[in-house]
C-alpha cells in the first residue's frame, strides 16, 4: 500500500528531514526571537507590532499552504477563518468573557463548524470552481460581519482590553504577546511540517496528483481533504484570536476577499508546497510593503512590477531560491 502511494505521489513531494531543509525557517525564527530586543534599540512598539502582524499572517499563510501546496485546494476565502477567530475574540472580550481559556475553545469550535459546513459543500467542486465557491462563503461571512451593528458594523470594534490567560493579565505586555505569537508560529510550522511528512500528507499529495488512483487504493479523498480543510481553518482561526488581541481592534476588513487574496499571494510568492514557502512569502510581502510604502506614497508603481518580475524570474518562489542558496553553502562547507 505504501509503495503504491509513493508511486502515486510520483516524487516532487519528498520531504527532506535534514537541517538544510529547515535552515531558512530556523534563521527567520531566530531573527524574530530577537525582535523585542531590536525594538528596544530601534522602532519600539512600531517594530514589535509590525513583526507580530507579520507572524500572524505567516501562521495563516502556512495553514493555507497545507491546502494549496499539499492538497491542491486553492481557497479564496481563507481570511474568513481569521475573521471568525478575531470576531469570536472581539465579541467575547466585549461581553466580558475575556479569558483565553474560554475564547480559544470557542474559536476552535466556530472555525471547525464553519470549515465542516463550507468545506463539505466546496469540496464537491475542484479547480477554479473551488476557488470561487470558497470566495462565496468568505463573502457571505464578510457581509454578515458588516451588518453586526451591535459590534461596530463596518466601522469595526475597538477592544478596550486584551484577553487574560487563566485569569492572569499576561497579554497586556506586548513582549509576552509577542512570544506567544512566535511560539504559535513555530508550532504551526512544525505541525504542518509533521503533517506533510506523515501518511496523511502523502495521501493528500497523491490525491492532488491523481485522485482516482488514490480512491482506487481505498482512501476517501473527500474525508482527507475535508480534514485538511478543517485543520487549516482552525489554525487560521487561532491566528485570528491572537490578531484581535494584537491590534485591539476587529473589523470586517479582516475577512475581505482582498485579504484572502493576499494570503494566496504570500503562498505563491514564497513557493507553493515548499517547506518554508508560506513563511518566507509572508515575511517578504509584509516587509516589502512596509519598506516601499515608507519611501513613497506611489509605492504600488514599484511593488506591482516587482511581483510580475518575481513570477517571471524566480519560478520556484522565494523558498526555492533560498533552498538553492542553502544547498550551495552546504556543498561549500
Amino acid at each position: 500500500m505504501k509503495d503504491a502511494l509513493e508511486q502515486a505521489t510520483s516524487g516532487g513531494g519528498k520531504v527532506s528531514r535534514d537541517w538544510g531543509a529547515i535552515a531558512p525557517a530556523v534563521l527567520v525564527f531566530a531573527l524574530l526571537a530577537l525582535g523585542p530586543l531590536a525594538a528596544e534599540a530601534y522602532g519600539g512598539a512600531y517594530l514589535t507590532s509590525l513583526l507580530m502582524r507579520m507572524m500572524l499572517l505567516a501562521i495563516a499563510a502556512i495553514s493555507l499552504d497545507l491546502l494549496i501546496g499539499q492538497g491542491g485546494m486553492v481557497s479564496f476565502g481563507h481570511a474568513a477563518f481569521i475573521g471568525l477567530g478575531a470576531y469570536v475574540a472581539g465579541i467575547m472580550i466585549t461581553e466580558g468573557a475575556a479569558d483565553l481559556a474560554m475564547i480559544l475553545p470557542m474559536a476552535i469550535v466556530a472555525s471547525t463548524v464553519f470549515a465542516v459546513v463550507t468545506g463539505a459543500i466546496s469540496l464537491r467542486t475542484s479547480g477554479v470552481y473551488f476557488i470561487m465557491i470558497t470566495l462565496a462563503f468568505g463573502q457571505m461571512l464578510f457581509f454578515t460581519a458588516s451588518s453586526l451593528s451591535a459590534y461596530g458594523g463596518d466601522d469595526g470594534l475597538t477592544l478596550w482590553e486584551r484577553s487574560t490567560v487563566f485569569g492572569f493579565d499576561l497579554l497586556s505586555s506586548n513582549v509576552t504577546l509577542y512570544y506567544l505569537i512566535l511560539v504559535t508560529l513555530i508550532g504551526a510550522y512544525a505541525l504542518v511540517g509533521a503533517l506533510v511528512g506523515s501518511r496523511f500528507g502523502r495521501v493528500l499529495r497523491a490525491a492532488k496528483e491523481n485522485p482516482t488512483r488514490v480512491e482506487a487504493l481505498g482512501f476517501s479523498v473527500f474525508s482527507y481533504r475535508l480534514t485538511a480543510y478543517v485543520i487549516a481553518g482552525v489554525m487560521a482561526g487561532v491566528a485570528g484570536v491572537l490578531m484581535a488581541n494584537q491590534a485591539e481592534f476587529v473589523s470586517p476588513s479582516t475577512l475581505a476577499w482582498q485579504r484572502s487574496g493576499e494570503l494566496i499571494i504570500m503562498v505563491v510568492l514564497g513557493g507553493m508546497g515548499l517547506r518554508n514557502g508560506a513563511l518566507l512569502g509572508a515575511v517578504a510581502l509584509v516587509a516589502l510593503e512596509e519598506t516601499l510604502s515608507s519611501i513613497t506614497h506611489d509605492w504600488r508603481l514599484i511593488f506591482g512590477p516587482l511581483l510580475v518580475l518575481t513570477v517571471l524570474y524566480a519560478k520556484t518562489g522565494l523558498a526555492g531560491v533560498a533552498d538553492a542558496w542553502v544547498a550551495r553553502l552546504w556543498r561549500r562547507a
Binding site: 522602532g43 469595526g156 470594534l157 475597538t158 473589523s251
Partner: protein
C-alpha cells in the same frame, strides 16, 4: 576599453554624500528643538481626495507660519492609511514610536480612527482629528488626549433635520450607504425632524447604479430627498438624479455629498442642490477670504471643508505650542492650551466642549457656479448658532 574617471563627478558624489550626512546629523541635532507633527489620512483610492485636501490645508497654514510653530521648526510627516485598518494601525505606531511625533493629526474616516484611537491615546500622544468625529469617542469613551476640529459626525444631518423642520417639510425620503456612519446620519436627521420619513433606504458601499432608488423616490410622495453619499457615490447619485428629471420635483438635501471634492465631477448637475456643514468657501470673514485666495493660488482648486479643517488644525496646534512656550513635556499644560483653542478659526466662532469636540455654527449650503466657471458651496442661512453635540453630557471629562 577605456576607463575614464571624472574628478568632477566624484567630487559631486562626495558633496552629496556629505550633504546627506549633514542633513541626517542635522535632524538628530534639531530633534530636541523641533516640533514633530504626524498626519495620518487617506490618500489612496478614490477617497484620497479628502485626505489630500486635509494635507494641503495643513501645509498652507504651515507655510504661512514660516515653517515654525511657537518659534520652533516643524517637521511634518504625512502617512497614508490606505483606508485599511491594519495599515492605519501600523502607520500610527510608526508615527508614535519611530518618529516620536508630538501630535498625530488624523483621520479622515471613522473606521480608521477606531483602529488607531487606542494605541495613540494610550501612548499619551495628542490625537487631533481633522475630520472623523464619531459618536463612539464623544460620550463615555471621550479621552483627554483626543480632540476633534471638525464636528461630531451626526451634526451635519442634525442641521438638515432642524432646517427641514423649520421649513415645514412633512415627508422626507432618506438614502444612505449601508454602514455605521450611514445609520448614524438617519439618527441625526430624526433628532430635530418630526415629519414622516416615508422611506429609509440603504445601498451597499460603493453603489454604482441608483436608478432603482431613484424610481422609488419618484414613486413616493416625499417632498425632498435627504442623502448622505460621500465620494464617487455622490457623483453618481447626483448625475442620475438629475438625468431622471427628479430635480424639478424634489429638493435635494445632503451632507458630504455635494462638496468641493465632488463638485469638479458633478458640475452643473449639482447646481442648486443643498448641503449642510460648518463652513463654506464664501463665508464672509477676512481670514477666510485670504485663505481661499491663497489656497486656490497655491493648489489650483477650490478648498472644501477638509482643507479648512486641516488649516485650522495647524493653527490650533500652533496656538497651543505658543501658549506653553514650546515646552511640550507638560501634557496637562498642552491639553489646557489646546482646549483653550486660542486661534482665529476660518469659520469664525470656535471653541471646544468638555468632550473636546467643537462648539460652532452650522449652515445650510447651496451649490453655485462661480463667475470663473468653478463650482463651490455657498451659505444660504445659519441653522445653528454655537451648536454642541448631544453626546458631551455623558463624557466624564
Amino acid at each position: 576599453m577605456t576607463t575614464s574617471f571624472s574628478y568632477g563627478a566624484a567630487f559631486k558624489t562626495l558633496t552629496i554624500a556629505g550633504a546627506a550626512l549633514g542633513l541626517a546629523l542635522g535632524t538628530v541635532a534639531a530633534h530636541a528643538e523641533s516640533i514633530k507633527v504626524g498626519m495620518l489620512v487617506t490618500l489612496s483610492g478614490p477617497p484620497g481626495a479628502l485626505g489630500g485636501q486635509s494635507r494641503d490645508g495643513f501645509q498652507l497654514a504651515l507655510e504661512e507660519l514660516g515653517g515654525k510653530m511657537g518659534g520652533q521648526d516643524v517637521e511634518f510627516i504625512v502617512e497614508d492609511d490606505e483606508l485599511k485598518p491594519e495599515v492605519a494601525l501600523s502607520k500610527a505606531n510608526s508615527l508614535i514610536e519611530r518618529d516620536s511625533v508630538d501630535f498625530v493629526v488624523g483621520t479622515i474616516f471613522s473606521n480608521m480612527l477606531a483602529a488607531v484611537f487606542k494605541p495613540v491615546t494610550q501612548s499619551e500622544t495628542f490625537l487631533i482629528s481633522p475630520n472623523a468625529g464619531p459618536s463612539t469617542f464623544a460620550g463615555k469613551n471621550c479621552n483627554p488626549y483626543f480632540f476633534v476640529t471638525s464636528y461630531q459626525n451626526n451634526q451635519n444631518f442634525e442641521t438638515l433635520g432642524k432646517y427641514a423642520e423649520a421649513a415645514g417639510i412633512k415627508k422626507a425620503f432618506f438614502l444612505a450607504p449601508n454602514y455605521q456612519a450611514g445609520r448614524d446620519q438617519a439618527e441625526g436627521f430624526r433628532k430635530h425632524f418630526t415629519g414622516e420619513v416615508v422611506e429609509e433606504l440603504y445601498t451597499p458601499l460603493g453603489h454604482k447604479d441608483f436608478s432603482a432608488e431613484i424610481a422609488q423616490m419618484a414613486a413616493s410622495d416625499a417632498e425632498a430627498l435627504f442623502t448622505f453619499m460621500p465620494g464617487g457615490m455622490g457623483v453618481r447619485l447626483v448625475k442620475q438624479f438629475r438625468a431622471a428629471g427628479l430635480a424639478d420635483r424634489m429638493k435635494f438635501y445632503s451632507a458630504f455629498t455635494v462638496d468641493e471634492t465632488t463638485l469638479p465631477a458633478q458640475q452643473d448637475d449639482a447646481v442648486g442642490f443643498f448641503g449642510a456643514t460648518n463652513w463654506a468657501p464664501n463665508l464672509d470673514t477676512p481670514q477666510n477670504k485670504a485663505f481661499v485666495a491663497a489656497f486656490e493660488a497655491k493648489y489650483g482648486y477650490v478648498p472644501g471643508g477638509y482643507a479648512m479643517q486641516g488649516y485650522d488644525t495647524a493653527m490650533l496646534i500652533n496656538a497651543a505650542v505658543e501658549a506653553v512656550g514650546g515646552d511640550l513635556s507638560d501634557k496637562d499644560a498642552v491639553r489646557a492650551a489646546l482646549k483653550a483653542a486660542d486661534f482665529t478659526s476660518l469659520r469664525g466662532d470656535f471653541s471646544f466642549n468638555n468632550n473636546h469636540y467643537p462648539v460652532q455654527d452650522f449652515y445650510l449650503l447651496q451649490v453655485a457656479k462661480r463667475d470663473d466657471g468653478k463650482y463651490q458651496t455657498e451659505i444660504v442661512e445659519k441653522v445653528f448658532d454655537d451648536y454642541a453635540d448631544g453626546f458631551a453630557e455623558s463624557c466624564p471629562m
